[in-house]
Symmetry: C2
Subunit: 704 residues, 2 copies
């Protein structure tokens, strides 16, 4: 009897209690990894320390203080990485040199360095250059808090707070980037917008941590980050600070009654355990294999995604490297305190830096595994962003494929296969907004990109307490007393270096084209496909709302048995807004790529960031639209797909004080990539009653 009881405990444990054990196993795997890092592994803490030592010891930059604004992997050449990846056994894999790319600020200049950290005990600076063009690197966290502290010693500000009857202890003034407006910058002393200026935007916390619901309107505070000084202060107008009652979103602090809808809890049980394996940063699941990396600017970076083709008996390449290149968020209020809110979250603040730890069981389900990220602080030291990426198998009740055949008079045939996918998730909280950024891999070969927007609206103080009082454009929606949710856009731009079954690909537009019927049958019209292969970048700038077309990345050098070029389709899945700002407007010039959702460029090692390498205060003379304006050849070349998910966001009261998630995205779906449906041979699931039976059996007397 005791052995039977032991068996029962075993079953309960192995199924229900496996999550902490696997998490433990994972962390061992992560630390114990291979003998050398994968060439695309992000820098380890030891490597960050080596980089810092080399830069600080280098005679190339003598100015101090020296601050680190970006430290990340300087990727090896693509050909070297591909050779490495193709050498399947670790014995035949020679470690590639490890290089870091660094941007520091010192002496009022942006310095770019490449550092060899192959031998982390003897790192060496390989190159050094000073950036002379427009724009600046990402803000550091430390300088943001330092800038904020300036304000509390500023006499005029003390007066402004007193004038409004506010308690200084509750005031909080985060740094907002200010874009670029040509000569018409925020500080008269500034020359053509080429100072590293930011604004401090003030809110009241206090009874609620939901500071964005309590804006202190009317102030303009400009800080020069390099001089670390307030260079402009103006108190233009006073509006009431909203009371923001009931806006505390913390579980322990929600106003009673705590009576929101509460669905029944559910946990995914995996009776055979987890189906994916993580070795360092390499993830293997079902027919997929990819590298999940991390970068302080981009956050999650997926590389070398390939899928095992059962029919071909081969692993086939799909994507070399992909990440969110930029998140452009322009607000639509022209007021003095608002006109310049035209954020480039990735380039100004860093998605990796703001991808804070995911909450177990809430941000990701209980069956998730987690990866940590590391970035450099201002002093160059590594900071751990714990649990910044989660990976989990998604059991959403979806169906992979099904068919019921009713044409046979004597029998009904039904076959169905439940769909399971693998999700790689990061949640970015860049100020008030939160973006949940999912890569969802499907066994069918599809990769789904889901952007879920949540978090807190950016709100403006106002005198209005009722919509009837609004007689002119309020540039937003009255969400609560004295609170306008300001109109804005979101443009999330993906960099996707697709290598569909090889490096050289083409972009094809299969346009739906109406034809008049001349076949002599009674039908008058039909549509057919006009196939256009893009020769140059200009041919591959697509407004997906206008084009009735299948949009494909194909490999013209690889054909199926039937003679079709292998490819992948890009399928928009909602959230297809494009920017409607005027072309001559400054924010539009900086993010001019945002007028088309889709672009294709030839692969260039340094063309990674849609608004250019230096996004903060950029003037639009670098970046995706400028590069693709060169109209280079993209046919049968190594090409990169840029896809922008876009939303015009008119706020509604339901989005206040924290917004229920709203999702959009797109997918990459095989299009003549496989000879046939790659999941036809997916085995059917065990029937539902198998599971309780087997568990009960071992509890109740089954011998094994």
């Amino acid at each position: 009897m005791s052995s039977l009881r032991g068996s029962c405990v075993g079953v309960c444990r192995s199924s229900l209690a496996m999550f902490p054990l696997i998490l433990l196993a994972l962390s061992i795997l992560t630390t114990a990894a291979s003998s050398h890092p994968h060439p695309l592994d992000p820098l380890s803490p030891a490597e960050f320390i080596a980089v810092r030592a080399a830069v600080l010891a280098s005679p190339l930059i003598s100015d101090r203080p020296l601050t680190f604004h970006y430290v990340g992997l300087d990727e090896p050449d693509k050909t070297d990485v591909l050779s490495y990846a193709e050498a399947r056994s670790s014995s035949s894999r020679a470690a590639l040199p490890r290089h870091a790319f660094v941007i520091t600020r010192a002496g009022g200049q942006s310095h770019e360095l490449r550092v060899d950290i192959t031998n982390a005990t003897a790192p060496t600076v390989l190159s050094h250059a000073v950036h002379h063009g427009a724009g600046f690197p990402m803000h550091t966290i430390e300088e943001q808090f330092e800038a904020e502290a300036l304000l509390f010693k500023h006499v005029s500000f003390v007066e402004s707070v007193r004038r409004r009857g506010l308690d200084m202890d509750d005031v909080i003034c985060p740094v907002f980037s200010i874009g670029w407006f040509g000569d018409a910058g925020p500080s008269e002393s500034e020359e053509k917008g080429q100072q590293r200026l930011v604004k401090l935007v003030c809110f009241m916390a206090g009874p609620t941590p939901n500071l964005y619901a309590r804006p202190i309107e009317g102030l303009t505070v400009v800080v020069d980050l390099d001089r670390m000084a307030i260079v402009k202060y103006r108190d233009r107008v006073v509006y009431p600070v909203p009371k923001a009652e009931g806006t505390d979103y913390r579980a322990g602090k929600v106003e009673s009654p705590y009576n929101g809808p509460t669905p029944a809890p559910g946990v995914v049980l995996q009776p055979e355990g987890r189906g994916f394996h993580i070795d360092g940063h390499l993830v293997r699941w079902a027919n997929w294999e990819f590298h999940a990396g991390f970068d302080m600017r981009a956050g999650t970076v997926i590389s070398l995604a390939s899928i095992h083709d059962v029919e071909a008996g081969a692993r086939r390449r799909v994507l070399y490297r992909g990440f969110v290149s930029e998140v452009f968020v322009p607000y639509m209020d022209p007021a003095e305190e608002w006109y310049d809110r035209t954020f480039l979250d990735t380039g100004e603040f860093g998605l990796g830096i703001t991808a804070f730890p995911l909450q177990h069981g809430a941000d990701c389900p209980a069956n998730a595994a987690y990866l940590n990220g590391y970035y450099a602080d201002q002093d160059g030291k590594p900071v751990e962003n714990k649990d910044t990426i989660c990976i989990f198998e998604r059991y959403a009740g979806d169906i992979a494929w099904r068919h019921t055949e009713s044409a046979f008079p004597d029998r009904l045939i039904t076959e169905a296969r439940p769909d399971v996918s693998l999700v790689v998730r990061m949640a970015v909280s860049c100020g008030n907004y939160d973006y949940i950024l999912d890569w969802e891999f499907k066994t069918s070969g599809t990769i789904k990109f889901v952007v879920s927007m949540t978090g807190i609206l950016e709100m403006k103080g106002t005198d209005y307490t009722h919509a009837d009082q609004i007689k002119q454009d309020a540039h937003g929606t009255l969400l609560s007393e004295n609170t306008i949710g300001v109109y804005h856009d979101h443009y999330i731009t993906y960099y996707l270096d697709l290598d569909v079954d090889g490096t050289n690909n083409s972009f094809v537009k299969n346009s739906i084209t109406t034809k008049r019927n001349t076949a002599g049958t009674p039908r008058k019209s039909y549509w057919t496909v006009r196939r256009d292969v893009a020769e140059t970048e200009a041919d591959a700038q697509v407004d997906v709302n206008v084009a009735a077309a299948d949009l494909l990345i194909v490999n013209p050098n690889k054909k199926t048995r039937m003679g079709n070029e292998v490819g992948y389709r890009v399928i928009p899945g909602g959230a297809t807004a494009a920017s409607v700002l005027d072309d001559d407007d400054f924010p539009q010039r900086r993010a001019s790529y945002s007028k088309k959702q889709l672009r294709v460029t030839p692969y260039k090692r340094d063309e990674k960031w849609a608004p250019g390498l230096y996004a903060d205060r950029s003037s639009g003379n670098d970046g995706l639209a400028m590069w693709s304006g060169r109209d280079r050849g993209i046919r049968n070349e190594d090409i990169v797909l840029w896809y922008t998910v876009g939303v015009h966001h008119i706020p509604y009261q339901d989005d206040f004080p924290v917004m229920p998630t709203m999702s959009g995205g797109f997918e990459l779906r095989p299009a003549n990539f496989f000879e046939r449906n790659p999941v036809l041979k997916m085995r059917p699931p065990r029937l539902e009653y198998d599971l309780p039976t087997s568990v009960n059996c071992s509890c109740a007397g089954n011998s094994s």
Copy 2:
């Protein structure tokens, strides 16, 4: 010790083995329901029998044979149903009269009858009318098989099969509807397309049940269903019948090696049990309540959907009645055997009839409950469509809302709530194609409509065995040897009688409108919202790809505390194609509504079916586009939203021989419906480690 062991078994059982128990409980609930049916309940088997008895006994139709083509609930007046629904206690609810609507064919005419079945033992025919316009009711299953049987006795057909060297035993020839082409019908003898004609389209089964992969091309066989006779037979051309090797999709018959990708199995465990309750057809879950009905033409019908507003302390109406009104699927090959494949699946074949039983654990997860549907066979007797609807809580790992606040220097605040939704699913297999039609209810108030397309492509036989041989338009993709997947569209049109917080609503277009900045700040442009309230139907015909606008149904008589009109937004979520056929083309005239994804009409009791009540061979002189062409007033009226999910489908080899699911849809999302986020007060989940701990405790020695 034994009590501890008992406790462990109890825990295992209560969690894992609950599914069969709950299913049992459900079926008891379903049968034991209330003392009288809900006024929107579909007809019960006893009611079908009563309808049949009354119709057959009626002297109003003397012709025989009499065949039943539609039997369904004749809904009570909306005002009566609303009064019934508002009487919350069952004691104050008086049963409403039960009426059925019936369409029969007899004497070559379509007869419409209304039958009172309030007293099922004494049913009476209330009215009778003969339909004199164009079009016919749905085909019955029996007449389809009867028509098919004709062919096997047809001498020319025996000769055609012999000529092709095929085995007659493997031939199968389902009925295909043929649309309407004016005078240019398939049979010369026909007058203006007003005979009830169909075609028989032949395939080879045999080694594979995937008959659509083995078309017998070149035959035109026209059957007059009323005369039950072949009225045209033509053998125009012979193409090889594809071998279709490896196209058997049945688990037991898949060609070895059976080596498709197999993700780890997963089952949702609900430690506190299921969170929804079904009482007859009334479903209650979290803050939602609705009636899930069934109709042999529409399949799932959702009615009286309302949401409990915690802040208002009230249940608020959202939707009176919604269902899929039509599925239009035109193919794009003008050849003699193909030009007329322009299906209206709902009106010609019936979504309810073709919504075959869902597979437990594969079509729906293990935690699903099931509802049966009933329809009338040709003889008027009830047929059970078992498990035709499933209802389940979806634990997809999604996030309801989240925020991380990093503005405080001393602490990081993160709050996140996992999302759970309730899915009501039906899977329709109308011939070769399968549509998985999900209603997904979210606690945030959102209803998501997801159409997932899978099943088998409609394929055409051809001489081609390689794409290089194709020198002219093949009207499709070469999927396999001798097999073209023909270009086609899918238009799934939803009827949604929204009653947002009351019966009278308006349609509002909040258009994104670019403005030049005149505020004197450096910004040059911004966008604002131009609000247009639709006065008449013409104002509410929207191409969602062109409109940069939020599209809302609002209640102009109800405002939030802030003075905003309460409303719901319609948000397209991919699959937004509109028809590109010429306006004068016959299939386009029959489904002329398919040129705009969105339309709004005033509620009229009989305006339910987008192509009109009689869809088979309809000539386009009835239906949605014609009704809305009257340009009636829709402002502050009881209005109906019609939304069409559309896909231009260019087949790819990956879709062969069964297509991996492809999804699109739209959502209805609260827009100033609530005073604030209704899920802010959703409690956080128990942390993941609670669950294994509690289970282990009871296994390993915990006292209770």
